[in-house]
């Protein structure tokens, strides 16, 4: 039935959520292209559910513990080999693609945040947990590293040029070139120290790009500051009393007010830059080729009843993780009293980097993604593999390894359960071209694909829900 003075279709149609989620602005101020809520939704040529995950380990490996780290160890040089490592309880184990476990050691201090780093120079993976002396594994032998000044690294160790760097209570220590068994220790020249109060929290290898220049080095973090470590010659003997001729390593503070307390969150995104979760509960981005960073998580800081990153459990910042996979920057945070990440937000890197974009240069986020309780994630992307794996973060669920963001998978594995995924997409608020007048809405019309279930629709005004749970049916 035709209607008099019907609001024309361009005014009565919502723009696709190409600007993603905005929890920050008031509902009245949301712009076309933004969404109020995208629970378990992404935008890819349409709003659709995110990928689910599945179990790699068919049964719990251990109850009462969570996965404290995971890593795919690629090694073997001309004879490529691979091994999947996880840490839980006091164990470092390998897990096959079929989920079978082989315990490499039960000699770690139990239940510590653990970090794996593969170093190709020695073709070994190194294990650090802030409590035990550095361990190594070469694919055959798991061992404690022995030698001079072997550190107890705080967090992940980082390869820079021809050596390793590790955070200790002294600062940042280094090895001699191409060896893992000679380290500096509280050295007058070889130990990098922060200029601000507090211990270093994380170190992340990265070559900063200047105009026609590369600066080999790393970013080092304190809770409230971050630094640039650079150099082309880090000395010949790290344990020597004085530096060798030509040694030019340096550390410089880049910002004394933004730092990181979440070492699992520091991630490099190809062609985009480095991201991390800040101690003041935001996401920070240092674009590639730049030393000037910026916050990109403001839209996730909620001013409404929806929980955003402002609700991150500040007592568990160390459990926040971020990773890069399938053109998404994925952030996992623990909220409320949770000790493991229970909510994820996904930044769409296609929207951030597309050359023809008309949007502002800021992150486009989707979420919240709920239903998973993954505490650690790691990429497996060599020797013909391309997967994102995850480790269960809830010790009450047990030790499970998952395949994350699995294509054509519409359920979430949580422990031994497979849970449906409930997606909720809520648009921005339209005034329908007559902001001062009340409108009479007869119906909502949609173009949908792949409707096998029963979607429902709610309609909301600024002051509340107008109608809820209306079945959406084919015309």
């Amino acid at each position: 039935m035709a209607l008099r003075r019907q609001v024309p279709e361009p005014l009565a149609t919502w723009e696709d959520p190409v600007l993603g989620l905005n929890l920050f602005d008031s509902e009245e101020d949301l712009r076309p292209g933004e969404a109020r809520f995208m629970q378990n939704c992404i935008y890819r040529g349409g709003v659709r559910v995110r990928n689910g995950n599945s179990r790699l380990t068919p049964n719990s490996i251990a109850s009462g513990f969570s996965v404290k780290s995971g890593h795919r160890f690629y090694y073997g040089g001309s004879n490529p080999q691979k091994s999947r490592l996880i840490a839980y309880d006091n164990k470092i184990s390998t897990i096959t693609d079929g989920g079978a476990e082989t315990v490499l050691t039960s000699g770690m201090t139990s239940n510590k945040d653990t970090f794996f780093t593969t170093w190709t120079i020695t073709d070994k993976v190194y294990v650090s947990n802030n409590t035990d002396v550095l361990r190594s594994y070469d694919g055959t032998t798991f061992a404690t590293v022995t030698g001079t000044n072997i550190p107890i690294p705080r967090g992940r160790i980082a390869p820079i040029l021809d050596r390793l760097f590790a955070i200790t209570t002294n600062g940042i220590e280094r090895t001699s070139p191409r060896v893992d068994n000679v380290w500096s220790s509280n050295s007058a020249w070889a130990t990098f120290r922060p200029s601000q109060v507090g211990l270093f929290t994380a170190i992340h290898s990265f070559n900063m790009r200047g105009t026609d220049t590369l600066y080999p080095g790393a970013l080092a973090f304190q809770a409230h500051a971050y630094y640039l470590i650079t150099g082309t010659d880090f000395g010949s003997d790290a344990s020597a009393a004085s530096a060798s001729a030509g040694e030019d390593g340096s550390i410089q503070i880049l910002d004394p007010n933004v730092g990181c307390s979440s070492p699992y969150s520091v991630v490099t995104v190809p062609g985009v830059g480095i991201f991390w979760f800040t101690t003041d509960l935001n996401v920070y981005w240092v674009p590639e080729g730049s030393l000037r960073g910026q916050y990109v998580g403001d839209k996730l800081r909620s001013n409404s009843s929806t929980i955003g990153i402002e609700s991150t459990n500040k007592a568990q910042l160390s459990q926040v993780w971020m990773t890069y996979f399938d053109r998404f920057l994925v952030l996992g945070i623990p909220t409320g009293s949770n000790t493991y990440p229970n909510i994820q937000f996904w930044a769409d890197l296609y929207e951030l980097t597309r050359a023809d974009k008309t949007h502002p240069s800021t992150a486009v986020w989707y979420g919240p993604m709920i239903g998973q309780t993954v505490g650690r994630v790691w990429r497996e992307d060599q020797q013909g593999e391309l997967s994102l794996r995850g480790g269960e973060g809830n010790s009450a669920t047990g030790v499970f390894v998952y395949t994350m963001s699995e294509l054509a998978r519409f359920k979430d594995a949580v422990g031994a359960s497979d849970n449906d995924i409930t997606s909720i997409y809520q648009t921005y608020f339209k005034d329908l071209g007559a902001f001062s007048r009340e409108k009479y809405i007869r119906s909502a019309n949609l173009e949908l694909q792949n409707v096998n279930g029963t979607p429902t629709l709610d309609l909301l005004d600024l002051d509340g829900t107008i109608i809820s749970g209306v079945p959406i049916t084919a015309v």
């Binding site: 009565a12 998978r409 009479y440 809405i441 007869r442 909502a444």
Partner: protein
């Protein structure tokens, strides 16, 4: 707005059970509002080869500004003496439409209000009823 006639996953495999073109769906509303946001809820699951996962391409409303009414609406006219009931279809171009346009400027709430007019009849207009159900109950009052 956007849609594809085929959907592929990021590894190039086809999302085989997506319909070749979007289908048109509707949801009845019959409510009034100032600023409008739509929220769609869907439970996705997969079990074996059966998959349920919604893809939303377009979302629009069929909506009028409040003072506007359908071209046709059903009107019930009761004679003053209640001895005769006339049920008819009234075009919006008739005097009743003009009446309602005028009254809409005066009505400020969704509740029923009474307005007495002179010619050719005086009516009691239940505007709420009219708007919500596209049906008016009009009573001559003298």
């Amino acid at each position: 707005m956007a849609f594809w006639n085929t959907f592929h996953w990021s590894d190039g495999t086809l999302w085989s059970n997506v319909s070749s073109r979007p289908d048109i769906f509707t949801a009845p509303i019959d409510r009034s509002a100032h600023f409008v946001s739509a929220r769609i809820t869907m439970v996705s699951s997969s079990s074996g080869s059966t998959t349920a996962s919604l893809v939303i391409h377009t979302l629009s409303l069929e909506v009028n500004t409040r003072s506007q009414l359908p071209d046709y609406y059903e009107a019930f006219i009761d004679r003053n003496d209640n001895t005769q009931r006339i049920s008819t279809m009234v075009r919006h171009t008739t005097g009743v439409e003009d009446l309602l346009t005028e009254t809409s400027e005066l009505l400020t709430t969704e509740t029923s209000e009474t307005l007495i007019l002179d010619e050719p009849y005086s009516f009691v207009v239940n505007r709420q009823h009219l708007l919500m159900n596209k049906r008016s109950r009009i009573q001559p009052t003298g």
